[in-house]
Symmetry: C2
Subunit: 427 residues, 2 copies
């Protein structure tokens, strides 16, 4: 038996605001940051479990404090017990009543629980010698259902329905695993589209994206309508009619404004409108989707939890569910989200970028493909070409596709040298 | 001109779990705690601005870290500038993009912003020599509208509609202020109802509540149906048919379970069912309310922000809006909540208890009565008789009514001796 011997959280900040990478209608100058956790055991195998909360600068210390508070409780506990029943381990954190009071199931504490849960999954996958997506995709339907918290979901998805979805996907698992290993998972790129980039830089990057094999790009919108029209026209002219262009407003509009603004951009053939309004405005998304019939509506990177996703689906408010690896309570809650999407027949195109979000979320799309929805039709993993060099097992995107990770773990471990160089402070 | 010279946040925890005060279906053994902020200026007037986040123990340090992060930015700033336009001051915090990323507008960071906003209101009211409710109630309708952030609200409430509501209430302000000062605001009590109390203790406290002049009490339910039926029968027998009994499930049920369980309790004549399910499940509340036609549905103490309240109202999901003084972004966001309730004709019965929630929220109900809805019909402030002795200006509840505060300030300042005695740590 081995025990968790240490939990260390570091406030890591990268000075990305200097290049306006990541700039959008609501976030003009982010410093991409991670509150980064490593769990160490006394097993003597040299393996650590890594997880993180992604933030954009100020307040990363709050996330670090929250992670440390959640993780401190694990020090001295049996690693084998924690990893043996990851469903119980996850629920233990989520139902810790004083921590729950600080959400419930939302905001910094929920994200911190996600970091701890993901760090445990990283350790579990490393111990198993498998990449996370393969480890989870090889669990039985019953084991997968055991990972989910169905509380507050049963009016939309029961454990029995989840089991049925997973059993339906079971026969094709081996074939889809082979496809993934051979071809990778489709990606789109946001690299050209940051709001702070000049037209020239945007056009050049759009050109490069197509040359690199992507068949979808995304542009940030919502700051100035004339700018958006000009940029979209330029981008459409550059990439031609066959490349998809999604737009992303990063929550900047009220409901009526979203409808009016997007109508002006509709002639440029939109793959989707992302985050048209507050992520909490479920009814608002439904109203916008209905009014903009024909423009798919996407959201999810700031959707706080599975209960919110459930309602977006019940309301038929979205066409595209954008799960995020570090917003909800980790792998477990995202399996619930994947199951909800499968139940309602909505495609999942994860949010990524930031620090390590690509590395982490690729596993979830691959789990979805192999073991849940069984489909990758019209589904894309977001790709942003930032900060991958700081990870032990960085994503490899080739010809517009994420190559399936082959290294053991969840992809969440950062290089010690990077953590040390960009360390802002430790808890 | 004076400047903010210091911002100090202290993690204060009271060992309430020893008495099972505050125990309910989701929170078996809370230690009522406050992440407590004081803002000090160099004015030499001895006045401090106090605000807090209420928590139930573990994680209070996270709230304290968040408050300190928000408040640190104020040190050195002009107090007069900050207080002159409290609308702008509030929006500045809410739209700080890296902090917003950690919500947006929910969870620990949002609550921390609330503590800072409330501390500034406390200082503003003390400087004005008025209790907060009178200060705010004497602002013009235009000034009140200027305090609100209408972003994401305009599909339900425009600034023009808000102005109309406030103007409608204007002529009766003086008369209602006089009524408040003479009679106080109606209260109900939760003191008898904690889940951890024996039947004997519950019955004794219910008897005392009626003797003390309350005409509504509240019982916690949701742990065991037979227990709930027995306790409700005992309570109803004790208080007779004329006293209202509300029940509170503290989010413990799924939608179908809530409907089935409350139907069993309906024969005991329920004033409302509070928090039947997840506070995020807006559609769930609507479904429950429709199915339980005749039992009013109440929620709000964990409702993260005005966008969530907006939708509860749009969906006709609640009969009673239970605002909380320390959950959202302070006085400003709660004025938005009061205006939304007035627009939709829903009564506001605030959540209180905890540490200082009664002291803080009474001002909001009084603002509602004087300047917003203009009504106190069937409206009650929650009262729980805990921990008031630690406040400089504790609530005074007499004959089942909150006496209107007459001291200057927002009621949020704790006694220095209490802060010192129950200090867990400081940031």
């Amino acid at each position: 038996m081995s025990r968790i011997s240490a939990a260390e959280t570091v406030d890591v900040r990268f000075p990305t605001s200097q290049q306006l990478d990541g700039s959008d209608a609501m976030n003009p100058d982010p410093d991409y940051s991670a509150a980064y956790l490593t769990l160490v055991s006394d097993a003597g195998d040299g393996l650590v479990g890594a997880g993180f909360v992604f933030t954009i600068g100020t307040g990363n210390n709050i996330a670090a404090e929250a992670i440390q508070t959640v993780a401190d409780a694990l020090v001295g506990e049996s690693v084998e017990d924690l990893l043996a029943d990851m469903g119980a381990t996850y629920r233990r954190f989520v139902y810790d009543s004083p921590l729950r009071w600080l959400g419930p199931e939302k905001g910094v504490v929920h994200m911190a629980i996600g970091a701890v849960v993901n760090a445990l999954w990283d350790l579990k996958a490393k111990r198993a010698g498998q990449p996370l997506w393969q480890l989870v995709s090889s669990l039985s339907p019953e084991e997968l259902v055991g990972l989910v918290d169905f509380r507050y979901l049963t009016d939309a998805l029961t454990p029995e329905e989840a089991l049925e979805i997973l059993r339906r996907a079971e026969p094709g698992r081996a074939e889809r695993t082979a496809q993934l290993l051979e071809r990778g998972y489709p990606a789109y790129t946001t690299t050209p589209g940051w709001l702070g980039y000049s037209d020239e830089k945007m056009v050049r990057l759009a050109h490069e994206a197509v040359a690199d094999g992507f068949d979808q790009i995304k542009l940030k919108v919502g700051h100035d309508l004339d700018d958006d029209i000009r940029r979209l026209a330029l981008a459409r002219r550059e990439v031609g009619p066959d490349i998809k262009i999604a737009i992303d407003a990063n929550q900047c509009w009220d409901v009526d404004a979203a409808i009016a603004w997007v109508r002006e951009l509709q002639p440029y053939d939109l793959a989707w409108i992302e985050e048209p309004t507050s992520p909490d405005d479920l009814l608002g998304h439904a109203t916008i989707r209905k009014a903009l019939a024909g423009v798919p509506v996407a959201t999810g990177e700031h959707t706080a939890n599975r209960v919110m996703f459930k309602q977006l689906l019940q309301l038929e408010a979205i066409d595209v569910m954008q799960i995020d690896a570090a917003r909800v309570a980790g792998v477990n809650e995202n399996i619930a989200n994947l199951l909800l999407a499968a139940k309602f027949g909505v495609r999942v195109c994860p949010h990524a970028g930031g620090v390590g979000l690509c590395e982490a979320v690729q596993h979830l799309s691959m789990i979805d493909f192999v073991a849940v929805s069984g489909s990758w039709d019209n589904r894309y993993l977001e790709f942003v070409d930032h900060l991958h060099e700081h990870f032990v097992d960085p994503v490899r995107v080739v010809d517009g596709r994420y190559l399936a990770p082959r290294e053991a773990g969840a992809g969440t471990e950062m290089l010690a040298a990077s953590v040390s160089e960009y360390r802002h402070s430790a808890v």
